[in-house]
C-alpha cells in the first residue's frame, strides 16, 4: 500500500523534473545572450542529475548514485569553464 504511494510519488517527481528540463531547454534555445544559455545549461545539468537520482530510487540500486555525483561534478566544471571563457575570451591562459 505505502509502496504503491511511494512509487507513484517518484513517478510524479520524474514527470515534474522532465517538465523542468523542458523549460530549461526552451531558455537554452531562446536565451537572447550567451550568459542566459550558460545559466540554462547549468540548470539543465542539475535537473538531469536529479532525474538520474530518481531512477536510482525507483530501481533500488545504489549504482545510479555514483553516476549522479559524476554528472554534478562535470556540470560544475563545465559551467565554471564557460564563465571563464565569457569573462576572458579563453579558458586556459
Amino acid at each position: 500500500m505505502s509502496t504503491a504511494f511511494f512509487q507513484g510519488a517518484v513517478a510524479l517527481a520524474q514527470l515534474l523534473l522532465g517538465l523542468a528540463m523542458l523549460f530549461c531547454a526552451c531558455r537554452l534555445v531562446r536565451g537572447p545572450r550567451a550568459q542566459d544559455r550558460v545559466l540554462a545549461l547549468d540548470a539543465l545539468y542539475v535537473t538531469a542529475m536529479l532525474l538520474i537520482l530518481t531512477v536510482g530510487i525507483r530501481t533500488g540500486t545504489a549504482l545510479y548514485f555514483e553516476a549522479a555525483l559524476v554528472i554534478g561534478m562535470l556540470g560544475f566544471v563545465s559551467t565554471a569553464a564557460l564563465a571563464k571563457f565569457l569573462l576572458r575570451g579563453e579558458v586556459i591562459e
Binding site: R27, V38, T47, L50
Partner: protein
C-alpha cells in the same frame, strides 16, 4: 515512513519546476540568475533527504552517502553563479550598456 519520503521527493521536484519556470519567464538576466538556485539548493536537499530516508528504511541501517551530493551542490552553486554574473557584468560594461540602468528603468 515511505509516505514521508514520497512527500519529500515530490516537494523537491516542485521546487525544481518553480525554479525552471522562473528561469523561463523572468525578463532580464540578473532576474533570471535567482530562481534556479532554489532548485539546486533546497530542491536537491529535499530530494536527497527523501532518498536517504527511503534507503535507510529499506536496508534497516543508516544510508548517508547521498549527503555527499548535497554538500557538493551547496558549495559549488554559489561559486559558479557568482563567476557567471561577474562574466555577464564584464560583458555588459564592455558593450557600453549599464546593467543597473536597465533594471531601474524597467520598474
Amino acid at each position: 515512513m515511505s509516505y514521508l519520503a514520497g512527500i519529500l521527493i515530490v516537494a523537491g521536484a516542485l521546487l525544481v519546476v518553480a525554479g525552471a519556470l522562473g528561469l523561463l519567464t523572468l525578463k532580464t538576466f540578473y532576474d533570471r540568475v535567482h530562481p534556479p538556485t532554489m532548485g539546486t539548493t533546497l530542491g536537491t536537499g529535499l530530494m536527497l533527504a527523501g532518498s536517504m530516508l527511503y534507503f535507510s528504511v529499506l536496508d534497516a541501517r543508516p544510508v548517508l552517502h547521498e549527503a555527499l551530493i548535497g554538500i557538493f551542490m551547496t558549495l559549488s552553486t554559489p561559486v559558479t553563479y557568482m563567476l557567471l554574473v561577474r562574466a555577464a557584468l564584464h560583458r555588459d560594461r564592455a558593450e557600453g550598456r549599464d546593467p543597473l540602468q536597465e533594471t531601474t528603468s524597467r520598474r
